[in-house]
C-alpha cells in the first residue's frame, strides 16, 4: 500500500507541480484581490455612499452604455472594494455559426457618480484571480487544466497522507543544511502542519467549478440544466425576453427591500435579466461576508412592476455544504487577521509544492553522475516555475507604476510584462548552470519585489499615508526578503554531492519515509 502510494505521490506531484505552484501563488495573492486592485489604481479616491445609491448610479450607467444586453451582474461596493463592479453579457448572436462573443472585462464604477473610475487602466487583482483558475488559456481549456491539476493535487494529498506513516512523530522536525533530508523535512512540515488547509483548499477548489467539471448529476435530475442554477441562486439565464420594451423600476428600492428582509444584511450582487424588456427580472443576493456559506440567499423581483417573484428556499444540508465549501475557498468570511492567516497558509502551500518539486530532483541525483535528460528537464522547469514566476508577478506590479497612466492598452501591457518577465527569465536561466541559475533567478525575483515599493514611492510621490499602501509595500519588502533569503541559502549551501554523511543520533537515522524507497 505504502510503496504504491509513495510512487504515485511522486508522479502526481511532479506532473502537476509546476502548474500547481502557479495556482497556489496567484491564488494566495487573490486573498487580497480588492486590495491589489486598489493599490494598482492609486489615483482613485473613493466616496462612500449607501448601497442603494450605488445601485442607482450603476444602473444609470449600464442603461446608457449597455441597454440591450441579456444580463447585467453588478457587485455593489464593499468595505474592501470601494467601487461598484459590473459585468455585462450581450445577447447571443441569433446566427448559430457566428463566433462566440468574447467575455467582456469587468467595469469598475465610482459608486457616487456611476462613471467608470478615472484611474490608470489595469486588470488589478482580478488578473491574479482569473489566472489562478484559467491559467491565461482560451476558455474552457484553462479551467479544465486547472481542474485536472487540482485533481492531481487531491490524489497527491491522499497518497501523501497514506505514505507518511509517522505523521505526528515528525511534526516538529525541520533540520537545515542536511541535503535531501532537509528538503524532506521542509516538505513534510509544510504539508503536515497545514494539512487541513491544503485538503480543504484543494477539494473546495474543485467544488467552485463543479458545474463544469461534473454536470452529470444535474442532467439526471433536471430536464433543463439551467433549472438547477435557478433553484440555487436565481440565475435568470434561462428566462426568455417577452420582446416588449419595459423600463426598470428604481433599483434603490429593490436594495432597501431585500436588505430589510434580511434584517439589515447587505446586498452583495444584483443580477438583472433582460434589462430593457417588459419581463425583466432583478435578483439580489445576500452578502456572504458575515457567514461561511458564500452562496447567500437571494430574492427575485419583477424588474418593471417591482413585485416580489421568488426567494431562494432555505438550503438543505447538501446545498449548505456546497455553499460552505465555496465560502471556505473564497475566504470572504475572513476578517483582516484571518485573511492574513489564510495568506500565510497559502504561502505554506507554495512552499509544500516547491519543496516537493526540488525533492524529486534531489532524491534522484547521484554524486558525480551526468544528469539524464528527464532530470535536467525537471530541474529547469523547477527553476522556471518556482524562481521565475515571482519575478513575473513583481513585474506585473512594477509595470503598473512605470507605464504612463494614460497609455493606451496599458492594462494588456501589464499582463505582457508579467509573461515576458516570467518566461524570458526562465529562458535566460537555461544559459547558466543549474545552481547558478537558481541563485540568480531567485535574486532577480527578490530585487524586482524590492523595486515595487521604491517605484510606488517614486511614481505616486510622497510617503503613503493610507494604511493599505503601507501594508502592501511592506509585504513586497518581506517577499523580497524571503526570496533573497532563499537565494542566499542556495548560494551558501555546500555542494550536495561532496557533503559527507554526518553521524546523527539513532533516533533520526532510521529510514522514516517511504518516499526514500520509491
Amino acid at each position: 500500500m505504502r510503496q504504491s502510494m509513495a510512487w504515485i505521490h511522486g508522479w502526481l506531484g511532479l506532473l502537476a507541480g509546476w502548474i500547481l505552484f502557479a495556482m497556489f501563488l496567484t491564488g494566495t495573492a487573490s486573498y487580497f484581490r480588492p486590495e491589489i486592485t486598489r493599490w494598482m489604481q492609486p489615483e482613485y479616491r473613493p466616496h462612500a455612499v449607501p448601497q442603494a445609491e450605488a445601485a442607482r448610479t450603476a444602473i444609470a450607467w449600464l442603461q446608457k452604455n449597455a441597454p440591450h444586453d441579456e444580463q447585467w451582474t453588478i457587485y455593489l461596493p464593499t468595505d474592501r472594494t470601494l467601487s461598484t463592479r459590473a459585468f455585462t453579457r450581450a445577447r447571443p448572436n441569433p446566427d448559430p455559426k457566428a463566433p462566440r462573443a468574447p467575455r467582456r472585462p469587468e467595469v469598475r464604477l465610482d459608486p457616487a457618480t456611476g462613471a467608470p473610475i478615472e484611474a490608470r487602466d489595469t486588470r488589478g487583482g482580478e488578473f491574479f484571480y482569473r489566472f489562478h483558475f484559467q491559467l491565461q488559456l482560451p476558455h474552457p481549456w484553462g479551467r479544465w487544466l486547472a481542474g485536472l491539476c487540482a485533481m492531481f493535487m487531491l490524489g497527491a494529498i491522499l497518497s501523501g497522507v497514506i505514505t507518511h506513516k509517522r505523521i505526528f512523530a515528525d511534526f516538529f522536525t525541520l533540520r537545515w543544511s542536511k541535503g535531501q533530508r532537509s528538503w524532506l523535512d521542509a516538505h513534510n512540515v509544510s504539508a503536515v502542519l497545514a494539512l487541513p488547509y491544503h485538503a480543504m483548499i484543494t477539494y473546495t477548489g474543485l467544488i467552485t467549478l463543479v458545474v463544469m467539471y461534473m454536470p452529470w448529476p444535474i442532467l439526471a435530475n433536471y430536464p433543463k440544466p439551467t433549472a438547477f442554477a435557478e433553484s440555487l441562486y436565481g440565475d435568470t439565464a434561462g428566462q426568455k425576453a417577452s420582446g416588449q420594451p419595459g423600463r426598470l423600476a428604481d433599483m434603490g428600492r429593490f436594495v432597501e427591500a431585500a436588505s430589510a428582509e434580511w434584517q439589515g444584511a447587505r446586498v452583495s450582487r444584483i443580477i438583472v435579466g433582460n434589462p430593457d424588456d417588459a419581463s425583466s427580472t432583478v435578483t439580489l443576493l445576500r452578502t456572504g461576508e458575515d457567514r461561511l456559506n458564500a452562496r447567500g440567499a437571494s430574492i427575485t423581483y419583477a424588474g418593471v412592476s417591482g413585485a416580489r417573484l421568488a426567494a431562494s428556499p432555505a438550503p438543505g444540508p447538501a446545498v449548505e455544504t456546497a455553499g460552505v465549501m465555496l465560502g471556505l475557498h473564497l475566504g470572504w468570511f475572513a476578517g483582516p487577521l484571518l485573511r492574513w492567516v489564510c495568506f500565510l497558509l497559502g504561502l505554506t502551500g507554495c512552499a509544500m509544492v516547491a519543496t516537493g518539486l526540488v525533492l524529486w530532483t534531489v532524491k534522484r541525483q547521484r554524486p558525480g553522475a551526468q544528469p539524464f535528460f528527464g532530470m535536467s528537464l525537471v530541474e529547469r522547469l523547477n527553476i522556471g516555475a518556482v524562481a521565475c514566476l515571482p519575478a513575473g508577478m513583481a513585474a506585473f506590479l512594477l509595470a503598473n507604476r512605470l507605464l504612463p497612466p494614460t497609455l493606451a492598452g496599458r492594462a494588456d501591457l501589464e499582463v505582457s510584462a508579467m509573461f515576458w518577465t516570467w518566461f524570458g527569465l526562465a529562458a535566460l536561466s537555461l544559459l547558466r548552470p543549474v545552481r547558478r541559475a537558481w541563485i540568480e533567478t531567485l535574486a532577480i525575483s527578490a530585487l524586482l519585489f524590492a523595486a515595487v515599493p521604491i517605484a510606488d514611492l517614486a511614481v505616486v510621490g510622497g510617503f503613503p499615508t493610507d494604511g493599505l499602501f503601507v501594508a502592501f509595500d511592506t509585504t513586497m519588502l518581506l517577499l523580497a526578503a524571503t526570496l533573497g533569503f532563499a537565494a542566499w541559502r542556495t548560494a551558501a549551501k555546500p555542494a550536495r554531492a561532496a557533503q559527507p554523511r554526518r553521524r546523527v543520533p539513532v533516533e533520526v537515522v532510521e529510514v522514516r519515509e517511504v518516499v526514500d524507497v520509491a
Binding site: Q3, S4, I8, M151, L206, P217, N221, S231, G316, A318
Partner: protein
C-alpha cells in the same frame, strides 16, 4: 508496487494511466449521477450530494488504479463501474 515493476512495461503503464484518468472520471461521474438520481431526497439536494462526492470517488478510483497490481482487474472494475453506473443512469432517465 515499486517503480521498476511499473516503469518497465510502457504499454501497460499507458493503459493504467488512461484507465485511471478517463475511466476513473467516467466511473466517478457514473456513480455520482446514479447517486443523485436515486437518493430519496429533494432533487436539488440529491444533485448537490452527487456533485460534492464525485471528486472523492474519482480520487479513490485514480489511486486504486495504481495500487492494484493486476491491470486486467483495474480495467474491469473501473470501466465496468463506468459502464454499469452510467448505463443504469441512462436507463433510469431524468428524474420525473
Amino acid at each position: 508496487m515499486a517503480s521498476a515493476q511499473l516503469g518497465g512495461q510502457g504499454w501497460s503503464m499507458a493503459g493504467r494511466s488512461l484507465t485511471a484518468l478517463i475511466g476513473g472520471y467516467a466511473a466517478a461521474a457514473g456513480l455520482a449521477t446514479l447517486l443523485a438520481r436515486l437518493l430519496p431526497v429533494e432533487r436539488v439536494e440529491a444533485t448537490a450530494w452527487g456533485m460534492i462526492l464525485s471528486f472523492l470517488f474519482y480520487a479513490a478510483f485514480g489511486l486504486w488504479a495504481f495500487h492494484e497490481p493486476r491491470l486486467t482487474r483495474v480495467a474491469a472494475v473501473i470501466w465496468g463501474t463506468a459502464v454499469i453506473a452510467g448505463g443504469a443512469a441512462l436507463l433510469l432517465g431524468v428524474r420525473p
